[in-house]
């Protein structure tokens, strides 16, 4: 991935030409078809020339709701290019993309690897002009508005645990972290019996924060035993539209992640850790690398860490633009340099993961909770949250709110509390229509469920999952058909294409949504959509293909009438019109 990304930047045109790729295959002594397959899977790569600066504008839920179509309009006006087109001078090329992980400052875009948020038609012009003088670089130069700590909501008081040191600790200085008691939990752990650590984590009730909510301690105890290499893998792929929590954590407190991984490594007898970070998160990658280097110098990573018998090191792997690579087995395939196809289970990663060796995959938020649990005890951790769902949860607020950003609240906060207290309600004159919880793979909650505790189990009973903690608020101005269209286009774009129900099903669902949006659907298409999504739910290999049923049925539960209205060719819907003309003009999907 790294080599290819470097080559692409060096090309000056954001491309990988076939000749270069043949060279890579020969150099690595692998079949050419493997390289072609790899490059073709990850959206960051392209074998056709693009331009010196590649503009990717996000069209996922949060950005769409906040008006990403107006951003495309502004670029069209300023540069005269639509999606899939480049300027004649070879300076800019425009693409649409899925979530960039800065949803609280939506709408957003990425120019090469620099992310800019809070876009307005006016800001776009000044940003684009500033690039005319720039040289492409491998480093990031993101806008200030996407800085991790500025995306945190500080008021009113929250139960800050993971966020306690955000903005307090200097992420670039290990001494600052140590000064705040950092790495004390690791010291404490190294003096403990590994099985005791696992017991403590089990006892704390900590459940995975990546989406599935599997009990972390139990997962650790399932990791294969015996004298073989084992791995700790941190899932920092964060691709679920509306999620930006892991980015903030990694940017602002990278050492806490390293500490959590080292403790996990000691507990499961793994001497090597990998952090799989999505390629878009340049700043996270750079800061993590600084932290790793500093920790190595201090003897916190490397051989016999902190003078103990235990050795542990951490390596960063980068993603190449594929949501599905957040699925743990797909992530492992991607780490192995393959196409990001999820694997069938069993075997589970704990038995045969990276390089077919025992591997434990956890989310960033999960691993970062571990040092706190070791320091303060399982009892302390359980003291907040729900009976089967303890601790705090990071909620990512985006959409039509007076205040967006990340908050840390005890598990089970309600929509009412999140919207009114932390989001300060909807902007004046706007009325709540629905909230999307859990991202694209989650579902829709209406007014009736304002008091539903958003933990891991209770939303499930309403056909919704909390997932990674997305709360995207939409007002009366949001068309449910248009919104579902964005979700279903996301799934088609992100399906890995390996298994039949999802590969074909996502395309069919997207097609049906387009029929509604263009008002050429017939009422029977509603049932057809549900029917397809049901086969997908039952038959898909991984959770990606099993998910679309959730947004579809929950959306229909509230807004079936709007879908029926969209069956009438005479029905007016400016929102659908905008999406159709903006996103689909240059072909593609």
């Amino acid at each position: 991935m790294l080599i290819l990304r470097d080559l692409e930047v060096q090309s000056g045109k954001n491309m990988l030409d076939i000749q270069t790729l043949r060279g890579v295959a020969e150099e690595m002594n692998i079949p050419e078809s493997d390289v072609a397959g790899f490059v073709g899977f990850y959206t960051m790569f392209n074998t056709k020339p693009r331009a010196k600066f590649l503009i990717r504008v996000c069209k996922s839920g949060p950005c769409h709701v906040m008006g990403s179509t107006t951003i495309f309009d502004a670029i069209q006006k300023h540069l005269g290019i639509g999606i899939g087109e480049g300027t004649k001078d070879g300076m800019f090329f425009l693409e649409k993309c899925e979530c960039l992980g800065v949803c609280s400052v939506a709408p957003a875009m990425m120019i090469n690897y620099d992310i800019h948020g809070n876009l307005t038609p006016k800001r776009i012009v000044s940003i684009l002009n500033s690039y005319k003088k720039k040289k492409p670089s491998l480093m990031e130069d993101c806008g200030k508005e996407v800085e991790g700590k500025t995306c945190v909501i500080n008021e009113p008081r929250q139960t800050k645990r993971l966020l306690e040191n955000i903005g307090v600790v200097d992420p670039l200085r290990i001494d600052s972290y140590i000064g705040k008691g950092g790495y004390e939990s690791l010291k404490k752990s190294l003096a403990m019996d590994p099985s005791k650590i696992i017991d403590t984590v089990k006892d704390s009730g900590l459940r995975g924060r990546g989406g599935a909510g599997f009990p972390a301690g139990m997962k650790w105890s399932f990791v294969g035993k015996g004298p073989v290499q084992k791995y700790v893998i941190c899932n920092a792929d964060e691709g679920e539209p509306g999620t930006f929590k892991d980015r903030i954590l990694m940017e602002e407190n990278p050492h806490l992640l390293i500490e959590g991984m080292a403790i996990c490594g000691f507990a499961i007898d793994a001497s090597l850790g990998y952090i799989y970070v999505r390629g878009e998160y340049r700043r996270s990658i750079e800061r993590l690398q600084v932290a790793i280097d500093q920790a190595r110098k201090k003897g916190i990573l490397g051989k016999n860490i902190l003078g103990s018998k235990f050795s542990f090191d951490v390596i960063i792997k980068e993603g190449g633009g594929a949501y599905v690579c957040g699925e743990e087995t797909s992530l492992i395939n991607s780490m192995e340099g393959k196409r990001g196809y999820p694997r069938f289970k069993p075997p589970f990663p704990g038995g045969a993961g990276f390089n077919n060796l025992p591997s434990n995959v956890n989310n960033v938020e999960t691993l970062m909770s571990v040092p706190l649990i070791i320091e303060k005890g399982a009892g302390w951790y359980k003291s907040v949250g729900q009976p089967n769902c303890s601790g705090t949860k990071l909620y990512c607020l985006s959409g039509k709110l007076n205040r967006t950003g990340m908050v840390e609240l005890p598990m089970g906060a309600t929509l009412k509390e999140i919207i009114n207290v932390y989001g300060k309600g909807l902007p004046k004159g706007r009325k709540f229509k629905f909230a999307q919880v859990g991202g694209s793979a989650g579902g829709i909650l209406g007014k009736d469920l304002m008091d539903l505790p958003l933990d891991i189990d209770q939303p499930m009973k309403q056909g919704v999952t909390l997932g990674s903690g997305v709360v995207l608020v939409c007002d009366e101005g949001t068309c449910s058909v248009d919104f579902l269209l964005q979700i279903l286009s996301f799934f088609e774009h992100e399906s890995c294409g390996q298994c039949v129900p999802c590969r074909v099903g996502t395309a069919h669902l997207h097609h049906l949504a387009r029929k509604f949006a263009s008002r050429t659907a017939v009422p029977g298409d509603i049932d057809l959509m549900v029917e397809k999504a049901t086969v997908m739910k039952k038959a898909s290999l991984c959770a990606l293909g099993q998910s679309p049923i959730m947004p579809i049925t929950t959306m229909l539960k509230y807004f079936r009438k709007e879908f029926l209205q969209h069956c009438d060719p005479k029905h007016k819907c400016p929102q659908c019109d905008r999406s159709l003309s903006r996103y689909y003009a240059g072909g593609g999907h």
């Binding site: 078809s33 899977f41 890995c496 074909v504 069919h508």
Partner: protein, 352 residues
Amino acid sequence: MESIQLTINGKQLAGHRGQTILEVAGENNIDIPHLCYHPRISKTGACRICLVRVNGTMLKTACTEPVIADMDVVTEDAEISQIRTGLLEMLLSEGCHNCLYCEWNGECELQRLCQKYDVQEPSGVFKNRERTVDTESSNGLRRNENRCILCGRCVKACGEIQMQGVWNFTGRGSSTTLTSDMFAKLGDSSCVMCGTCVQLCPTGALSFQTVLGRGQAWDLKKETSVCIYCGVGCQIDFYTNKEGQLVKAIGNENGPNEGHLCVKGRFGFDFVQSDKRLTKPLIKKNGKFEEASWDEALDLVSSKLTEIKSKSGPDSIMAFSSAKCTNEENYLMQKFMRAVIGTNNVDHCARL
């Protein structure tokens, strides 16, 4: 090996640790439909056709799910049939299937399943994406990807069996396609034309140049034979049409080759029915070959050999015999050289 007792469709059966549901079912003649699974390659688990019900609730892919003690498997019920039909409908609408024009008509696994589940013609609501058709660039293989179900068998056949790695998938999701090498035409690729991918392809997406226009699949007669080219002794199933014309060679899975063939075994059978083949002995007279009787020819050879032997000694003669002859004929050849001519100068092309 540890034996495992389980029930499939109410029948008490025994498997062993490490086997999948599909394997145990297969051994017991219980048919579980599948498309991406093939015994000669690693498991894929992606077509999802082989979903079966385990312990009354869960749906699992039989091709990947290991058997465990007291497992209760049902291979078909109303819901499973519905899913399979749904999946097959999806596959049909994803491609462009018209059996009338297909080389593999009558042998296609997709066709058989669609008939079994009574899958109707796609409604036309969902358009298929045009994919690569390359039927000319290669001398041996034809590719029509509009019939491809992206099962991955060819990718694994080439990568795991022939170890040539010509095929892979590129793109992703609904825009997934095959690529040979780096987006090369098959004829320009590193393909060595062993034909393994074609043999494993469940549909007519990949086929042989020799098949088209030479009779319907159901009219072909199969005869198992041994390859004549080398000492491995691959078993081949040769198919002939109603006119007795050889149509194709398929590796026999029970032979030492376990179904595999190389380009010679796969395509090197045209000589058998070639009109250039000699049917009568020829003797060169006045610089030109002329037809002769067997008696005349044998007399000439015997007199020449006797002459050479007496003039220059037996070791001035050598025999090189052919793999295209039977073992018995080859035995006779060396016997003749040793006993009649009196030399050990014998060799054979299969010693290569």
